[in-house]
């Protein structure tokens, strides 16, 4: 005997209230709605109007909107409580600053990559090496971070040119950690040309990961990444194979840098990664810093062309997955986590507030401290806005509580930035105060004229359309979100 009829639970016209709701028109007949924490529902424009003006009679749609905390029945408190819990969960990482510490152990490099964003010097000049004393002070600052996880990334130049310091920092960090009990991770960003057995053994014994550059097939890679012998690609590939054999496939990852020459060759680049047994590719844009801006590094391409490149690369990756090659597009996987879960992976270029200082700190070879890698590159171009101090005379408080950090951080909170606050994709996006300072003259920029905004909106709408129309891709994003 039914006591409560199903019809009794239906919502009558004007029987619901809107919860914080943002929307974006994807196509002529398709709109995506997002709630306060980025959960999304696809509707038609007419359905959106009906939900907004209280006339919608589609009970199944109204039920889905209730489940996604986009509408509620007057008097309910649970939806707001759950939204608050989810938002708190997403922002929880803020208490665990700073996870990534970049040590620029030398500016020396034997490559002369055309797009290099680092002021590299020829391999002979050792006054561009970090000293042990500088490294020790930098480590002391790093261990002041509340984060229970510290990742120490060795960069340069070419860090293997100062391998003794890499070894020293690793040992010293582990020694210092005895009093802290943090979870430590180490990674060397290297072109692998100088990899030898001693370095491999060190990585194996100490649990150090490696990250290298593979821009694509040989001609594309060597076209930009110049070195004596013109064999950068061969060296990198040989290095990758050696690492995979000695340390296993999970110890080495690769990044690509996009140049003008890359933009029509997305599928080839993906295939080059697949051939090397690399399971993840990060399709990145080129950023306008360092030599890339000054030189002819191919920085002059527009956002639309890059988006076409990204879409082609993503298509090739989906195709590989259909052929049972489990390739991941890392940028999409970061966004997948933000779209489909409450956790924020903390990728410093896609967080709000931005990852400057609180996500990452950079210790240059001379002890200067920067709020991010891009901040350091800007300094090489003469703009020291993002220099936060020096390890030899700045305390942790001097660095983390400085105006130099707090002002750009404040300007990087999307929830209170014009256009970002009402953007459907605010939960997925981030902020780039360094980019906006460099291109627009202030930390927030004007999003209508921001290449950062245009590029991210392009990626979000591309991913959402694919998720809406292709169940296989939707499942792939779910897998990548885990």
């Amino acid at each position: 005997m039914i006591k409560l009829e199903q019809a009794a639970t239906a919502l009558s016209p004007h029987g619901w209230q809107l919860l914080p709701m943002r929307f974006h028109r994807l196509d002529a007949d398709s709109v995506v709605l997002t709630n306060l924490v980025g959960e999304h529902v696809f509707v038609t424009p007419d359905e959106l109007v009906g939900v907004a003006d209280g006339t919608c009679a589609d009970q199944e749609l109204l039920a889905r909107l209730r489940a996604a905390h986009l509408i509620q029945v007057p008097g309910e408190t649970l939806p707001a409580e759950l939204l608050a819990i989810k938002l708190r969960t997403r922002l929880r990482r803020l208490a665990d600053s700073t996870g990534l510490h970049i040590f620029v152990v030398t500016l020396r490099c034997e490559h002369t990559c055309r797009y290099c964003q680092v002021s590299r010097q020829s391999a002979a000049k050792s006054e561009f090496d970090m000293t042990e004393e500088t490294a020790r002070r930098a480590l002391e600052l790093a261990f002041r971070s509340p984060s229970p996880h510290l990742k120490i990334e060795f960069q340069g130049g070419e860090p293997l040119l100062n391998f003794p310091l890499v070894r020293w920092i690793t040992a010293e960090a582990k020694r210092m950690n005895a009093g802290h009990g943090k979870d430590l991770a180490f990674v060397i960003a290297t072109n692998l040309a100088l990899l030898d057995d001693e370095i491999l053994e060190f990585c194996a014994e100490q649990g150090v990961d490696l990250s290298t550059s593979i821009d694509g097939p040989q001609d594309l890679h060597n076209g930009s990444r110049r070195r004596p012998g013109r064999d950068s690609w061969q060296q990198a590939v040989a290095g990758i194979r050696r690492v995979q054999e000695r340390l296993g496939p999970n110890q080495i990852s690769a990044l690509m840098t996009t140049t003008e020459a890359s933009l029509d060759r997305a599928a080839e680049i993906i295939d080059a990664y697949a051939d090397l047994g690399l399971r993840g590719v990060f399709l990145r844009p080129i950023s306008p810093y360092g030599f890339a801006l000054r030189g002819r590094g191919g920085a002059n391409y527009d956002v639309e062309r890059w988006l076409g490149f990204y879409a082609a690369g993503l298509d090739r990756i989906v195709e590989l997955n259909r052929q049972a090659v489990p390739m991941v597009e890392i940028y999409a996987s970061i966004i997948a986590k933000k779209m489909l879960t409450n956790s924020d992976p903390g990728y410093v270029d896609l967080t709000s507030p931005a990852g400057i200082g609180i996500g990452t700190l950079v210790y240059n070879y001379d002890g200067d401290i920067y709020a991010s890698d891009e901040g350091r590159m800007l300094a090489e171009m003469g703009d020291r806005t993002f220099r936060l101090g020096n390890v030899h005379d700045s305390s942790y408080e001097d660095v983390m509580l400085s105006d130099g950090l707090l002002r750009p951080l404040t300007g990087s909170i999307a929830l209170s930035a014009p256009m970002c606050a009402t953007c459907a994709f605010e939960s997925y996006c981030g902020a780039d105060p360094v980019f906006h300072h460099a291109t627009a003259g202030d930390f927030t920029g004007h999003k209508a004229m921001s290449a950062f905004c245009r590029r991210n909106m392009g990626v979000f709408t591309l991913l959402l359309r694919k998720m809406r129309d292709d169940p296989y891709f939707r499942d792939l994003m779910r897998r990548w979100a885990q």
């Binding site: 199903q6 239906a10 924490v37 209730r66 649970l78 989810k86």
Partner: protein, 298 residues
Amino acid sequence: MLKLMGRAGGPAWPVADDVWRVCLPADSDSDRDGAGDEGPAKSLACLVRAGQPAPSGYGLYLTTDPETGTLAVPGTPRRATRGAPGPVLKLGPELAHLSPGDIIHVPAGARRVTVLWKNSAGHNALLLTEQCDNYCLMCSQPPKERDDTWLFDRARKVISLLPAGTRSLSLTGGEPALHAGALIGLLEHCQQVAPELSIHLLSNGRRSADPAYARRYAAVGLADIMAGIPVYAPEPGLHDFIVQAPGAFNETIHGILNLASLGQAVEIRVVVQRHTVPVLAGLATFIVRNLPFVAQSR
């Protein structure tokens, strides 16, 4: 399939309504339940096989041996079986499966025996009440209005008699938390006499929307208890319809959140039926986003 209720022949000596654990004569030394030499082992029922002598000292003797005669007509006095030093229950053949460690309920009059605990089964559940404040469309145990709080007392006795080595216990209903005091008392009893048990409590979670009740539940301090709480839809409309109770969804989710914030283990249970099938994917999404802390019973 084992029968859990069966006929019994009334013994000559009166047997009060009680709960008994079955044991064999050979177990007498390790199984006396503290009786010592002082008299019949309290709450132990000795299972006597054909031809075996029945040792003295037990409160009840059980036999399925046909040689000791046919079942007595209920109500007629019967002489004690030759050699049995106490009241003898002759069990019907459907209860021939009784073994040591099983726990039975013998009501006054002793005409029927209910098996409450089957030691050889991997899982045993104790029914605590048939009352419920949900009225799920698909309920296999529709609620009854009558006062059945005596079931808590019976469960308490069963828990006191659990055989050594018992690892897990299920508590079910109806809705056990409708009798909050009795349930908390029962859980405290578990914590006292069997703290190593893994307990699975089936409940709709609605009572835990009251923070004071949730705190009492957590304060019992059981190391291994999990609440199995059904959620049938990702929003109130359909869930409340399926459980036939307005407001149930909001109370249930509030209850789950309260338990989780007190560090209590919660499992979400879903029944696959006509109304839940179309929303299973949406329900899974809801659980991932809103209840990501839930666990599963092992």
